[in-house]
């Protein structure tokens, strides 16, 4: 008989009672570390400067938005490797439809969200009805999107009207619109996961799909919705990026490696790849950790390639800190 075993020590249990996932401690640590390094090497130019601090968050917005969607999918014990191309096609199509004309903005937004919904639907159906592993399914769909983009567009295309750039550059007072949007997305994700029936069911489907099925849940439907939501967050990220770039190009998505990075920040944030547990606030912390690192390194003039190296190391170390005490075998 399978019994559910606990393998945590007292410290972890204590942490759970006060509900602070370890990732937030990491964030604080990284923030302090960044502050110290900044003070030493560049006389505190960043961390004593609120607009720059704010900018750290703004630069984390595109990844943050799509990471929320990825978190949903991962909680459902699935994965979405097509987000990068969804972002690309959104950027390109939005720019193309807008053609620099404000009047086209609503139409463009509708079009890209529709495309995103279709992509999510295709992902979900391929996984649930064709029984294709989510890794392969979303990978394949991503490649298909890539093909479609490259077949239709090869360079910057169309342009974004100034009015739309408000999205990327505007601000309410001192708070950039971008941050507000990110917060809204995170809060929406949080409410969805912790308060809605869908969220409860998603945790169940990810935790043990057989139990979910036996309990009468439409497990396919839950997963499909999760994938659609994820693709929609990718669309939102695409819109944000194109509003900052003023024009969309096919390499926008893959360039930021949004697919693997959204997975990485989710996992660093404490959501398990196996599904059934985790949450968006941890993911947000993960995103911010990467954001702070990036900015600190930029400021310190660290070679961008070393940034990548450190990113990789941090991902592994963060997850290792969650898992090394586990008695279970990983794979």
């Amino acid at each position: 008989m399978t019994t559910i075993t606990v393998s945590e020590n007292r410290f972890k249990q204590f942490l759970r009672t006060i509900h602070i996932p370890p990732v937030f401690l990491f964030l604080v640590f990284i923030f302090l570390l960044g502050g110290i390094l900044d003070q030493i090497f560049s006389d505190g130019q960043i961390f004593k400067n609120p607009p720059i601090l704010l900018n750290i968050v703004v630069r984390s917005v595109p990844l943050g938005i799509v990471a929320v969607g990825q978190t949903l999918v991962i909680i459902g014990a699935s994965i979405d490797l097509s987000v990068a191309y969804t972002i690309s096609i959104t950027a390109v199509m939005a720019s193309f439809v807008m053609q620099g004309n404000s009047a086209n903005v609503p139409k463009a937004i509708l079009v890209v969200f529709a495309i995103g919904a279709v992509i999510g639907l295709v992902n979900g159906l391929t996984i649930t009805k064709l029984h294709v592993n989510s890794f392969i399914a979303t990978l394949g769909v991503g490649l298909i999107i890539k093909g479609i983009i490259n077949a239709t567009f090869s360079n910057y295309t169309g342009s974004v009207p100034d009015s739309f750039q408000y999205f990327g550059y505007g601000a309410f007072g001192i708070i950039p619109v971008a941050i507000l949007i990110l917060l809204m997305v995170v809060i929406a994700g949080w409410l969805l996961l912790s308060r809605s029936k869908f969220g409860f069911h998603l945790y169940g489907v990810g935790g043990n799909v057989e139990v979910a099925r036996l309990s009468g849940l439409r497990t396919d439907g839950v997963l499909i919705i999760a994938h659609v939501l994820c693709s929609l967050t990718a669309v939102l990220t695409g819109l944000f990026l194109v509003s900052r770039l003023q024009s969309g190009a096919p390499w926008v998505g893959p360039d930021g490696i949004y697919d693997l990075e959204s997975v990485a920040t989710t996992v660093v944030g404490g959501t398990a790849l196996a599904g059934g547990k985790g949450g968006v606030w941890g993911t947000l912390a993960g995103v911010l950790i990467f954001g702070v690192l990036d900015t600190t390194f930029n400021q310190l003039g660290v070679n961008p390639y070393l940034k990548t190296v450190l990113r990789g190391a941090i991902i592994v170390l963060a997850v290792a800190s969650y898992t090394f005490r586990s008695k279970k075998d990983a794979a």
């Binding site: 399978t2 075993t5 869908f198 945790y203 169940g204 009468g216």
Partner: protein
């Protein structure tokens, strides 16, 4: 005893209509007739046990009643009304709930979330957590466990018994009228079984019909009022408990009398040199372990769940090694740091859960059988299809020895029946040529006849000079098989008892009440 029988006879039985009834149920699977024209009536306020060998059809019958399978023919009636279920959810909503041996809980979710999974109280899609917790508390209170379990605890931090209670609470929340349980006491400790028993009595008095499958005839006779015996998919008999004895039931189950449950114990001249000696060994789970094991003997390890028995086996075998103290194997001091060291030193470990720990389901049977012998060869050593090095015919030989029923050893192990899978595991260890065997719950969840053959196989091992350490929660098995008994309590060895000690003595020591000397006095007193 007499009062109880009187009571059960005066409780409402045949005078009332059956709460649920299966009539002429038949079910076939490819190549196998699982059920053949079975009809049973289950009455409200009654505990009804369904017994039979592995493959007799008990699980199939229960699953049909619970809506997990549909019968090929026959009808099911609930409160006189004919019902047909296509999904377990339908059965649950109509009031028939089933609790499987592997619990259907979500470990990372709270108790309340588990109980109401799929039907969370909500408005416009938003879950009302407070209401859900409130309702969960109410249900927990209904079954009298609100002190033990809180609705906001995470399921993974509950003990096995508590998880089972959550499953029962879930059933109650569905206003279950019929509660079906598959081997409910298999993983419970002695005290937990008593608690469950009390709960069942309470549920009974609410007019529920309780049906359970069990291989433990002692519990069947303790708790149930009615017993239904199935054999080879057919109904043998449904009878009142008061009208039969356990050996009658066994006879009905296997069609013949099992005149000796257990093979005879060893005699002093059968026991040889000390082959394993542990002195004051400890690790983070168990402390101060000291004992000896001799060739040709069965050393029974008794104790309640959590007393450290499995941890002892895992320490001996190197899965979770000792950190201090000493161990001597064949007279040589040794520190077993991992299983392959243990195997190289001729130890074998037949684990508790054969399905999840014993076989690799998608590998062919022959590869499963050769797993241990290959593991101690060099990693890049050449392999042969049926054996190792000189013994090329190992697989067919072992297959015959343990009597595996299969048409080919190429078949993936997952397609074998449970009993045959067990035999594969046994064959795997026999192949390793070990002379110290550790068994952890060797006959858990196995039917009576196979139990006997496994006991015979164990005694056969000792007759060949092999030393056996046998962990068991079934006291009759401990008493029936052990040449000596070690009792564990609170992660230590509480004491040692001689062969044929009584269950009471063992239980007293296992609950920490008495030390070895006093236990011996009790047993002496019992003998007089």
């Amino acid at each position: 005893m007499t009062d109880q029988t009187l009571k059960s006879e005066s409780s409402p039985i045949e005078t009332l209509a059956p709460l649920t009834e299966v009539c002429n149920i038949s079910k076939r699977f490819p190549g196998v007739v699982a059920l053949d024209d079975v009809s049973v009536k289950f009455y409200p306020g009654e505990v009804h046990a369904v017994v039979g060998e592995n493959g007799a059809g008990k699980s199939t019958l229960m699953k049909i009643m619970a809506g997990a399978y549909t019968p090929d023919s026959g009808e099911i009636y609930l409160s006189g009304e004919k019902v047909l279920f296509t999904h377990p959810q339908e059965a649950q909503e109509k009031g028939i709930s089933i609790i499987y041996q592997e619990f259907n809980l979500l470990p990372e979710r709270t108790v309340a979330a588990n109980i109401f999974f799929g039907r969370e109280p909500s408005k416009y899609g938003v879950v009302d957590t407070r209401e859900m917790n409130k309702q969960a508390s109410a249900v927990l209170r209904e079954i009298g466990v609100e002190q033990m379990i809180s609705p906001t605890t995470q399921a993974s931090s509950l003990s096995v018994a508590e998880q089972q209670l959550v499953e029962i609470a879930k059933a109650i929340s569905f206003k279950a009228k019929v509660l079906i349980m598959d081997e409910p006491t298999a993983a419970l400790t002695y005290t937990e079984v008593k608690l469950l028993d009390d709960l069942i009595q309470r549920l009974k008095s609410r007019g529920m019909a309780i049906i359970f499958i069990s291989h433990r005839l002692i519990e069947v006779f303790d708790i149930a009022e009615k017993i239904t015996v199935l054999k080879d998919g057919q109904l043998v008999k449904t009878t009142k408990k008061a009208e039969v004895t356990p050996s009658d039931v066994v006879f009905l189950m296997v069609g013949r009398a099992l005149d000796h449950y257990f093979p005879p114990l060893g005699k002093p001249e059968d026991f040889g040199d000390v082959v394993l000696r542990v002195t004051d060994a400890s690790n983070q789970f168990i402390k101060g372990i000291s004992f000896e094991l001799r060739r040709g003997e069965v050393l029974g390890i008794a104790g309640l769940q959590g007393s450290g028995r499995t941890e002892l086996a895992q320490a001996l075998f190197g899965v979770a090694p000792f950190e201090s103290g000493s161990m001597e194997l064949h007279g040589k001091a040794i520190a077993v740091k991992n299983p392959s060291m243990a195997i190289r030193n001729k130890m074998a470990f037949v684990t508790e859960d054969r399905k999840s720990e014993g076989i690799a389901p998608r590998q062919p049977i022959r590869d499963n059988m050769l797993m241990t012998v290959r593991a101690i060869q060099s990693v890049f050593g050449v392999i042969h299809k049926d054996g190792i090095g000189k013994s090329r015919k190992l697989v067919p030989m072992l297959g015959k020895q343990v009597d595996i029923r299969t048409d080919s050893f190429d078949r993936e192990a997952q397609f074998l029946s449970g009993g045959n899978q067990q035999k594969v595991v046994l064959a795997k260890w026999l192949a390793s040529d070990a002379n110290v065997f550790i068994f952890d719950e060797p006959t858990r969840g196995i039917d009576v006849e196979s139990k006997a053959s496994i006991h015979d196989m164990i005694r056969d091992l000792t007759n060949r000079g092999i030393a056996v350490l046998m962990i068991s929660s079934e006291l009759p098995e401990i008493v029936g098989m052990s040449d000596r008994i070690l009792v564990m309590w609170d992660r230590q060895i509480a004491g040692e008892l001689p062969a044929k000690s009584s269950e009471q003595e063992i239980m007293l020591m296992a609950t920490g009440h008495v030390d070895a000397k006093s236990a011996k006095n009790i047993s002496k007193a019992g003998e007089e």
